[in-house]
């Protein structure tokens, strides 16, 4: 497969920092744990690859039992299809002649579905696929309370469903949502009402795709859903530790950084800034968790520096010391680096993040 040629074995532990290290043993446990949860509840799992952006990780997820994958951009899906991933859902409204052309080509090499929440998008898809060999499966994106994209009511879902169902190049695949967090019964009611309305009106609704990592252990609460999309669970991160959904030792991705300055007793400066950890706070204090000293705070970031506040910590790192940071948000860190180091026991392998930075 294409992606293996981008891998390079690292024969030394002398990694230049900052660097992203991914513990593949933890990855494997995380994959198996959610897969087993979904299997137990009869829910198909369709992992979102935005977290890892690596074909090898998608292959691991599929080997463990995932039905296929979720991508957010065509470029990500193209990269995954090249690596022989066969079943891809792009959960995005695709717009524009060039993107639609790419979508048509992509549909020839994998089993592809997309979503739509408005007639403009459906129209573009229909015109593109009307002469295609096979129709394109389209799911209706529903806003079940997260206030992002999506039709606003079951009635709107029905109108859009009719449009998709009647378009010659398209086939109606059902419903899709990224739900709000909190009580999931509302999400279930919303989707059940929309499904019922579609079926009452003679439209098909074979699939209902729900998503999210924060609610992954309650995915069964949306009992009408046929599949669940989770991304972050493969690596986990500080936001999920904070939410009580995993432990620190379940976090597979860490940033290796070096202390480059100790200007004062209560300040250390590391070589990981916003270009590595990003500015994502996700409602927390500080820009990550230092594994070596959880009471030290990553107080602020400039692009290439992280400023540690040690005033509440007895830890006193020296210049040259290496530290490990669990970032607030793992997915965005994967996007910052051209390559990561996969750690398999004591073996390190440098691997290109081949679906990184694909903005279209």
């Amino acid at each position: 497969m294409d992606y293996t040629s981008q891998a390079e074995t690292v024969v030394t532990n002398d990694i230049m920092t900052p660097a992203v290290i991914i513990d593949t043993h933890i990855v494997q446990k995380n994959i198996e744990k959610l897969q087993s949860h979904c299997d137990q509840h009869g829910i198909l799992l369709r992992p979102h690859i935005k977290t890892h952006k690596l074909p090898s990780m998608a292959q691991r997820q599929i080997s463990a039992g995932a039905i296929g994958i979720t991508c957010q951009k065509i470029g990500e899906a193209e990269t995954m299809a090249k690596a022989d991933i066969k079943d891809i859902l792009i959960t995005y409204n695709i717009i524009g002649a060039q993107k639609l052309h790419r979508l048509e080509k992509l549909a020839q090499r994998c089993s592809l579905s997309v979503v739509a929440d408005n007639a403009y998008v459906v129209d573009g898809l229909a015109k593109t696929f009307t002469k295609a060999e096979y129709p394109l499966e389209v799911l209706i994106e529903c806003d079940t309370g997260a206030n992002r994209c999506g039709v606003q009511s079951a009635e709107e879902a029905l109108d859009l469903g009719r449009l998709i169902h009647n378009a010659s190049g398209l086939t109606l695949g059902g419903l899709m949502t990224y739900p709000p967090m909190g009580d999931q019964s509302q999400v279930n009611n919303w989707l059940k009402r929309a499904k019922d309305l579609l079926i009452e009106n003679g439209l098909p609704c074979p699939k209902i795709s729900n998503g999210g990592t924060p609610n992954m252990w309650r995915s069964q609460d949306v009992s009408v859903a046929t599949e669940h999309r989770s991304g972050t669970y493969i690596y986990n991160d500080r936001s999920l530790v904070q939410a009580g959904l995993c432990r620190i030792e379940d976090c597979a991705l860490s940033v290796l950084a070096t202390v480059v300055s100790r200007p004062t007793d209560d300040r250390a400066v590391i070589d990981a800034g916003s270009k590595m950890l990003t500015s994502d706070l996700l409602g927390m204090e500080g820009f990550g968790l230092i594994k070596e000293a959880q009471d030290a705070k990553i107080a602020s970031l400039s692009e290439e520096h992280g400023i540690l506040d040690l005033s509440n910590s007895k830890w006193s790192p020296k210049v040259g010391d290496q530290i490990h940071i669990i970032p607030n948000h793992a997915c965005v860190v994967s996007n910052m680096v051209d390559y990561v180091y996969l750690l398999d026991g004591h073996h390190l392998e440098k691997t290109a993040v081949s679906a990184r930075g694909l903005v279209t």
Copy 2:
């Protein structure tokens, strides 16, 4: 030069969004304006390339009169040296055998200086350059109040200066600071005292390098400085408009995005999220300024979606409409994309951001 081979002429305006567009006419005006200010006050200008990460932009800055450039990482400096940039200051504590080896190689192809704020860093540099053909110039990084890196007092500067001066492979270049914003007279006093102490003790202090874009029009207030490093001024951004340092029409970088969803009357969703605009708020509300409707708010971002709050705006964009966003912080946006579109009048050229993502 290497970088021209990465450029590709775009013959159509049909750009896939999201995309970064850079107006080179505005760039040229911004370059000339700050150069003229520095010339007038007898200050050498050494632009920081972190904002553009493009050799062609560094060449423009040098052609306009800049003495050389500033980089933050060795990888950036390597990329710039390959494109024939001759005078490079890396304002970073360089640590580790592999990086020091790269530094030694780099010093053979350009006039290179670095900084240090502690003995550990000086020791590594000295060991590396003791057998080099030419000594490496090292400036003492001073914390004049920004609370990042830097020695804490003139006395500490003297101690470190002695160490550098006495090391066989190194030559003491003087002082360097990234100043706090606000009153610059304190910065001047700090640096003047350190300079005097070095000279009183028989040490050289030929260069004093000050920096910052927010204080660029007051660079002359630090009269002891011999040079000024600014980065963001070449593109400008919303944070500088907000601070009254430039006008919206002085912002050269904008993000072209497409409206992909209109779920409700007061909500639009665009295809630029945190993977394009980043989560940098820099103390402002919202994640950027929409040129088409400045009263519309980019209220929240997920990785691939921007959620616009239109409740205080009469603007009502349709799905498929393209909009232009001035980001809060231009430098971090350059780092998110593999290429940008340079707009020269009506001509667009797609160019690789060759110093993007170089974390080491």
